[in-house]
C-alpha cells in the first residue's frame, strides 16, 4: 500500500492503460479488497444463475413444502429443517426453501442497490458537473438544494411515501427512484468540489481558449477526470443502498411478497427467532457478507486511488474524508 503510485495522474488522464495496470497491482496487494471482490463476485454470479443453482436441488423460492413443517408451523428437524433437500432449512409457516429464498433475494438486493446507485450517480454527476463549471446563481441554488436534501429525514419520508403512492405503481421502481433521489446530493457535492479545482487546470483553460463549447469541456475534459472519484463513490454507495432496501423490506414497506427479499425474511424471522434462529442467520448472514464485501472492496479501491496513502497530494485528496462523511450519512438511515 505504501508503494508510490500515479493515482493523481491516473485521474488527470482519465485512466490510461498504465494507470489502470497500476490500480490492479495495488488492489492485488490488498488482501481485504481482494477478498471483498471475490465475495461480491460470488454473490453476483449466484444472483445471475439463481434458477440454475436452485435447480440443482429441484427447489424454487415460491413452492410451499408443508410436509417439512410440524403442526405449529415451525420447520421439522435441526437448524430450521436443514436437510439434503433444503440446504438452509425452510421458511416457517410456508415451508418454502430458504436456500432458494436467499439466492433469489440476492437478485432483488443487488439489482435495486445497483440501479438506485446509478440513479443517484447520474443526477449527482449532472448537477455537480454543471454547478461546479457554470457557477453563479445556478451553483448557489444547486448547493442550497443539496443542503436541504442532505438534512431530510430520508427513511421517515420514504416510509411515509409508501403509504400514499398508488399500489399500482411498481414498488421496486418506486424504491429505486426514491433511494436514488435522496442519495444524489452527496455525489453532487463531491463532483462539484472536484470540478471547482479542475476548471482552473491548464488543460481545461487551454480547451476553452481553443474555442471548445461548454458541452465539449463538460463531457470530454471534465467528466473523464472525475471518473475515478465517481467509481469509488458508486462502490461505496451500492452497499448502503442494499442496506436501505433491506431495511425497508424489514419494516414491511419494501418490495411486496412473494418476491424473495432478505430484509423481509429477517423481518418475519422476528417472530420465530427464539425457536428457529436459522431463519434469521441465513438471510442476515447473506446481507452482512455482501455489504462487508462491497465495503472492503470500496475501501481498497479508495486507498488505491487516494494519493494520501502514497504520500502524494492532488485533486483526489478530498475523497477519503468526504466519502467517509457520506458513508456515515448513508449508514445512519438504517438506524
Amino acid at each position: 500500500m505504501s508503494a508510490p503510485t500515479d493515482a493523481v495522474d491516473l485521474s488527470a488522464r482519465g485512466g490510461t492503460a498504465s494507470g489502470r495496470l497500476d490500480l490492479f497491482t495495488q488492489l492485488r496487494r490488498d488482501p481485504w479488497a481482494l477478498a471483498g471482490l471475490i465475495v461480491v463476485a460470488v454473490f453476483v454470479l449466484a444472483a445471475i444463475f439463481a434458477p440454475l443453482i436452485t435447480a440443482i436441488n429441484g427447489q424454487n423460492p415460491y413452492d410451499y413444502n408443508l410436509h417439512a413443517l410440524d403442526s405449529s408451523g415451525a420447520p421439522k428437524g435441526w437448524g430450521g429443517g436443514i436437510s439434503w433437500r433444503h440446504w438452509f432449512g425452510v421458511e416457517p409457516l410456508t415451508g418454502r426453501d430458504l436456500f432458494s429464498i436467499v439466492v433469489y433475494g440476492g437478485r432483488l438486493s443487488l439489482s435495486v442497490g445497483v440501479l438506485a446507485t446509478l440513479v443517484a450517480v447520474a443526477i449527482g454527476v449532472l448537477v455537480g458537473l454543471t454547478a461546479g463549471y457554470f457557477g453563479g446563481w445556478y451553483d448557489r441554488v444547486a448547493s442550497r438544494v443539496v443542503d436541504v436534501l442532505l438534512g431530510f429525514p430520508a427513511l421517515i419520508f420514504i416510509i411515509a411515501l409508501t403509504a400514499v403512492v398508488s399500489a399500482n405503481f411498481p414498488r421496486p421502481v418506486l424504491i429505486v427512484l426514491v433511494m436514488g433521489f435522496f442519495s444524489w446530493p452527496s455525489v453532487a457535492r463531491v463532483v462539484r468540489g472536484q470540478v471547482l479545482s479542475l476548471k482552473q487546470r491548464t488543460f481545461v483553460v487551454a480547451s476553452e481558449a481553443m474555442g471548445a463549447g461548454d458541452g465539449h469541456v463538460l463531457w470530454r475534459q471534465l467528466l473523464p477526470n472525475v471518473g475515478a472519484t465517481i467509481i469509488v463513490y458508486a462502490t461505496i454507495l451500492v452497499p448502503s443502498m442494499i442496506g436501505f432496501e433491506a431495511a425497508l423490506s424489514f419494516l414491511g414497506v419494501g418490495v411486496p411478497p412473494p418476491t424473495p427479499s432478505w430484509g423481509r425474511a429477517i423481518g418475519t424471522s422476528v417472530q420465530w427467532f427464539s425457536t428457529d434462529p436459522g431463519y434469521l442467520v441465513f438471510p442476515g448472514g447473506a446481507l452482512f457478507l455482501i455489504t462487508l464485501g462491497l465495503n472492503a472492496f470500496g475501501d481498497g479501491l479508495r486507498d488505491a486511488l487516494d494519493p494520501r496513502t502514497s504520500r502524494r497530494r492532488g485533486i483526489l485528496h478530498r475523497i477519503a474524508p468526504r466519502s467517509a462523511r457520506t458513508h456515515g450519512r448513508q449508514r445512519k438511515v438504517t438506524a
Binding site: 443542503d147 429525514p153 421517515i156 419520508f157 411515509a160 414491511g252 429477517i266 452482512f288 462487508l292
Partner: protein, 331 residues
C-alpha cells in the same frame, strides 16, 4: 455581536429550509391524488361522511388556501369544522388524527420520550466509543490496535442495526436471560428498569454507528497529525498526548460533530428500526402504525416533526462551530 449575527442568519436560513420542506411534504401528501378526505373519513365511509370530512379538513379550499391553513395551524393552531362538532387543535398543530381523536402534536409528545431515550443514550455511547476508537487507531496507525479497531469498524459499518439488535436479544435476552427482550419502561416509573430495557438498543445502535465515527475520526486525525502546525507543536516540546488531544483532535472533530448533529437529529425523529426490533412504542412505531391505518395526518406530522428536528440540529451544530472555530465566526 458576531455570535448574535451568526445565530440570526442561521435562524433565518432554517426558517426558509423548513418552509421548503413543509411545502414539499404538503404537496406530496395532501395535493397528489392520495385523497386525504377518503383516508380520514372513517368507516363506514358514506358520501355524507366524505363530504363532511372534506369540509372539516378544509379541502374545499383552493390549494393555496389549504397550504395557508396548514402553515397557520403550525404557528397559531387551527380549528377543524365549525359549531358544536368543531375540533380545536392547539399550536403547534401538526394535524389531527380523526381515527384516534387526538391532535398529532399530542401523539408525538407522548411517544417522544421513548425515542429520545433510545436516541440520546445511543448517541452518547457511539460518540464516545467512536471517537476514542478512531483516536487510538490514528495514533497507532498501521499497528496492531489500528488493525483491530478498523476490522471491528468495517464489520460494524456492514451490519444492519436490526440484525445486531436481534442477535443481542437472542444472546442476552433468550439464551442468557440477563436483560429484557423488549419493551420500554418510563424513567419516572423505575429508573433501573428504564436503563436495563434500553441497554440492548443502545448497544446495537452504538455498535453500527461508532464504526462510522471511528473511521471518520481516524481519517481526519491522521490528516491533521500530518500538518505543519502539529510538527510545530511537537518541535516546541509539547508532549504527544497534548499534541493529539489539544491540537489534532480538536480540529479533527469538526466534521465528526457535523455528522453527529445530523445523526442525532435524524434518530430523534424516529428510531424506526430499533423501535421495531425492541418493541418500543416510540415515534417510529407510531409512524409504522399510522401507515398500517393510513392515518395521513399523523404520517405528515411525524415527517415534518423529524425534518424540524434535523433542521434544529443543524442550527445547533452551526452555532457550536462558531463557538469552537474562530474561522467560522469571522466568516
Amino acid at each position: 455581536m458576531r455570535i448574535a449575527r451568526l445565530v440570526t442568519s442561521r435562524l433565518v436560513g432554517v426558517v426558509l429550509v423548513l418552509l421548503v420542506v413543509t411545502a414539499i411534504t404538503f404537496v406530496i401528501f395532501y395535493l397528489l391524488p392520495s385523497n386525504p378526505a377518503q383516508l380520514s373519513c372513517g368507516k363506514p365511509c358514506t358520501p355524507e361522511n366524505l363530504a363532511r370530512a372534506k369540509q372539516f379538513l378544509g379541502l374545499d379550499l383552493p390549494w393555496y388556501g389549504q397550504f395557508w391553513e396548514f402553515l397557520r395551524g403550525i404557528v397559531m393552531g387551527r380549528t377543524f369544522g365549525t359549531g358544536a362538532d368543531a375540533i380545536v387543535c392547539n399550536a403547534p398543530c401538526f394535524g389531527y388524527s380523526f381515527q384516534l381523536n387526538t391532535p398529532v402534536t399530542e401523539l408525538i409528545l407522548t411517544r417522544f420520550p421513548v425515542t429520545a431515550s433510545i436516541a440520546v443514550g445511543a448517541a452518547a455511547l457511539w460518540f464516545v466509543s467512536g471517537v476514542a476508537g478512531g483516536t487510538i487507531a490514528a495514533v497507532w496507525r498501521r499497528k496492531a490496535p489500528d488493525r483491530a479497531i478498523m476490522t471491528v469498524a468495517i464489520a460494524g459499518v456492514s451490519s444492519p442495526a436490526y440484525l445486531v439488535g436481534m442477535l443481542l436479544i437472542l444472546l442476552f435476552g433468550f439464551t442468557l436471560g440477563w436483560l429484557p427482550t423488549g419493551g420500554y419502561e418510563p424513567f419516572g416509573d423505575d429508573p433501573v428498569q428504564w436503563f436495563l430495557h434500553l441497554l440492548l438498543p443502545w448497544t446495537a445502535l452504538a455498535f453500527i454507528s461508532s464504526a462510522v465515527y471511528a473511521r471518520l475520526t481516524r481519517s481526519e486525525l491522521v490528516e491533521q497529525l500530518g500538518l505543519d502546525y502539529v510538527r510545530t507543536a511537537r518541535a516546541k516540546g509539547l508532549g504527544e498526548g497534548a499534541v493529539v488531544m489539544r491540537h489534532g483532535l480538536r480540529n479533527a472533530l469538526i466534521p465528526v460533530v457535523t455528522l453527529f448533529g445530523l445523526d442525532l437529529g435524524t434518530l430523534l425523529g424516529g428510531a424506526v428500526i430499533s423501535e421495531r426490533v425492541f418493541s418500543m412504542q416510540g415515534l417510529g412505531a407510531l409512524l409504522l402504525d399510522s401507515i398500517g391505518r393510513l392515518d395521513l395526518q399523523v404520517i405528515v406530522g411525524i415527517t415534518l416533526f423529524s425534518a424540524f428536528l434535523i433542521a434544529i440540529a443543524n442550527v445547533v451544530v452551526d452555532i457550536v462551530y462558531g463557538l469552537i472555530d474562530p474561522r467560522v465566526r469571522a466568516a
